[in-house]
């Protein structure tokens, strides 16, 4: 184990996989010479050269399309979109092509590719650079969707993503890049997709979250513990495949659930998860499932009002208190 940041854990995963497999390549805007907008690709050009670590034009749709073709040709490209917001320029290649090709061609090909996308709000980057689009990707069949919360998960899930035979949308939270944690040194440390992580065991309520929301849930749980409230936290890790049994089993045990998502509340993934809980646990639920979500507004710039738009440890703690006070 070594202590490192989420950023360095991702960087290590990329380096290990580039060393292991010559068919792995990295490309994106400013990933090579500039070493990435968030420096996740630091040192890659120096170690692996411009044949494998490549800067691209600012052509998001084609960044993805070229990766699709390269994957179809047998390579394992890891494409970076500078932020998830720019993925909207690439939705044609992501949704109409990447997610469809295996199925519409009758299973005759597969696309072993990863699309890395930093995202999330909270840095006063205003409406066009603060979005959380995980529900968009989770909604579409044909691709895996991963969103790690911790440095160890960042490493283990990115390595799995690179080795996975399916296309993977790999989301990274911009506010987690500097977070630190213990990360296994083993170059074969791989975390399976579709296995949620019980970050904390508890008895009174289950908090279902992912990525930065899971970290905020831990902070909330620490505060609530002092009030005598025991929270269990399920970090989903992967949104597709979704590990439904783990959060269902947890809610069956606790009888109460709070679902936390950073994306907009309306038609957000938390609604789907809450519905799954209601369907599977209706007979044992002690209170209706609560949702904590981003406000349904384009993100404002000013930090005085931006913070109102994103779930916080306080809003999660309040939701837990409310769900404990509520009764069917």
């Amino acid at each position: 184990m070594s202590e490192m940041t989420y950023r360095d854990a991702l960087n290590l995963a990329l380096k290990e996989e580039l060393r292991r497999d010559p068919s792995v390549l990295v490309w994106g805007e400013d990933v090579a010479l500039y070493e990435g907008s968030f420096k996740v690709t630091r040192g890659l050009l120096a170690e692996f050269g411009e044949e494998r670590v490549k800067d691209t034009p600012i052509s998001e749709n084609t960044i993805i399309g070229v990766a699709i073709g390269a994957a179809m040709g047998g390579l394992r490209p890891v494409a970076e979109l500078m932020t998830v917001n720019f993925a909207l320029l690439a939705m044609d290649q992501l949704i109409n092509h990447m997610a469809k090709i295996r199925s519409m061609f009758g299973g005759q090909t597969n696309l072993p590719m990863v699309v890395r996308m930093p995202g999330g709000g909270g840095s006063q980057l205003a409406a066009q650079h603060s979005q959380s689009l995980e529900s968009y990707f989770m909604h579409c069949p044909g691709m895996r969707v991963v969103y790690p919360a911790t440095p160890a998960d960042a490493k283990g899930l990115l390595k799995t993503a690179i080795r996975d035979p399916n296309p993977v949308v790999f989301l990274e939270h911009e506010l987690l890049y500097n977070s630190k944690g213990e990360v296994p040194d083993d170059p074969e440390f791989l975390l399976p997709f579709g296995k949620a992580n019980v970050l904390r065991e508890g008895t009174a309520v289950t908090i279902v979250a992912y990525a930065r929301m899971a970290i905020l849930a831990q902070q909330a749980a620490a505060v609530l513990e002092k009030e005598g409230i025991s929270c269990e936290i399920v970090d989903l890790r992967t949104l597709n495949p979704l590990d439904t049994p783990t959060f269902i089993n947890s809610v069956r045990k606790t009888g109460r659930a709070v679902v936390v998502e950073e994306c907009w509340r309306t038609a957000g993934l938390g609604g789907d998860i809450a519905h799954r809980i209601h369907e599977a646990c209706f007979d044992t639920l002690l209170a209706p499932v609560r949702r904590v979500a981003g406000l349904d507004v384009p993100m404002p710039y000013s930090r005085a009002i931006e913070k109102l738009c994103i779930p916080s440890s306080e809003s999660i703690a309040n939701a837990v208190r409310e769900v404990l006070a509520a009764r069917y």
């Binding site: 490549k54 052509s59 749709n61 070229v66 040709g73 519409m104 009758g106 069949p141 044909g142």
Partner: protein
């Protein structure tokens, strides 16, 4: 003075070009009939009139070269070597189809013959072609990627992004624009500020040529030359083939935006009878042999329809298959 055919290809290959054009035409006209009978459903875009492009180009490419196309691609796949029976079964939505009935008319795909797909979002295949070309270059394979698209694609962002990218990364791609003058019902001069489409490549430093897409030999020679340039230089080339579709955009389109007079001018340039005349004039074949070929193609297509009709539908559990590995 036109070059004699025998100076370009041996007799049997010259005759084969005719046969492939006839097979393509017969296949498409049979598709139209099967559509009216309700055996083929969904969208159906027919290639009748454009045969010289697919046939001339495919003959000029190597078997290892990748080919990608848009959604008017039945002939591209068949000429490349896809079994007409399995293509027809795909159009019928049957389990024996090239893509198990999951793709349909617009999404033929057959990696065994390096036919890397029909794509139905205009311009969507251009970046993918660049990626395939990159994979070949990265692995030092001796293959180029030929990417076919229509005149409508040149106004998509992917066209400009891909041309820029292919030149920048020096990718072995041959871009082939099949200009049939209409993006559904909108004529090129109503959609493109510069209707001489091949001239657009100057912005990306990619050499380009225009060719008569109604003349299979002209297409063959132009593609052969450009493909060899791509192979030698490792850099992209661009061909604009001027052609015409004899039918509407799809079976749902009566093509009322085109005049009868215009249609007649292009019918007179039909690549099939004109090439047949040339083969006969240069005594490469006989009328009797051409008749035999026509009959053989009719029989192949009839057999394909019979195969498709008799094939089973996909099983219900197939709906969950082939999405993830």
């Amino acid at each position: 003075m036109e070059t004699k055919l025998r100076a370009i290809l041996p007799d049997h290959e010259l005759v084969k070009l005719f046969e492939q054009m006839v097979l393509s035409r017969e296949f498409e006209e049979s598709c139209a009939e099967q559509y009216t009978k309700g055996h083929i459903t969904g969208f159906l875009h027919l290639y009748s009139g454009q045969e010289a492009v697919a046939v001339g180009a495919t003959a000029a490419l190597h078997k290892d070269d990748y080919i990608l196309s848009a959604y008017r691609e039945h002939a591209q796949a068949i000429v490349r070597g896809a079994d007409p029976k399995r293509v027809m079964a795909e159009l019928f939505g049957k389990a024996t189809g090239l893509c198990k009935g999951k793709g349909g008319s617009m999404h033929l795909f057959s990696p065994e013959i390096n036919f890397m797909g029909g794509y139905a979002i205009v311009g969507g295949q251009l970046p993918i072609a660049c990626g395939l070309a990159f994979s070949a270059k990265y692995r030092h394979e001796d293959r180029i990627t030929a990417c076919f698209f229509g005149d409508g694609a040149v106004n998509q962002g992917t066209f400009h992004e891909s041309l820029n990218w292919a030149r920048l990364w020096e990718l072995p791609v041959l871009f082939v624009c099949e200009n049939n003058f209409y993006g559904i019902g909108t004529e090129v001069h109503r959609s493109s500020a510069l209707p001489t489409l091949h001239k657009r490549t100057c912005g990306y430093d990619i050499p380009s040529e225009k060719v008569d897409g109604m003349d299979v030999i002209a297409v063959y020679k132009a593609i052969k030359y450009a493909a060899e340039k791509v192979r030698e230089s490792g850099k992209p080339q661009f061909i604009e083939a001027i052609t015409y579709r004899f039918r509407g955009h799809s079976m749902a389109d009566p093509a009322k935006y085109r005049s009868a007079a215009e249609h007649e001018i292009w019918k007179a340039r039909d690549p099939l009878p004109n090439y047949a005349k040339r083969l006969l004039a240069e005594e490469i074949t006989t009328e009797a042999e051409l008749d035999t070929i026509r009959k053989r193609c009719t029989a192949i297509v009839e057999e394909a329809v019979k195969f498709a009709e008799e094939s089973p539908w996909p099983e219900e559990q197939e709906v969950w298959e082939d999405i993830y590995v």
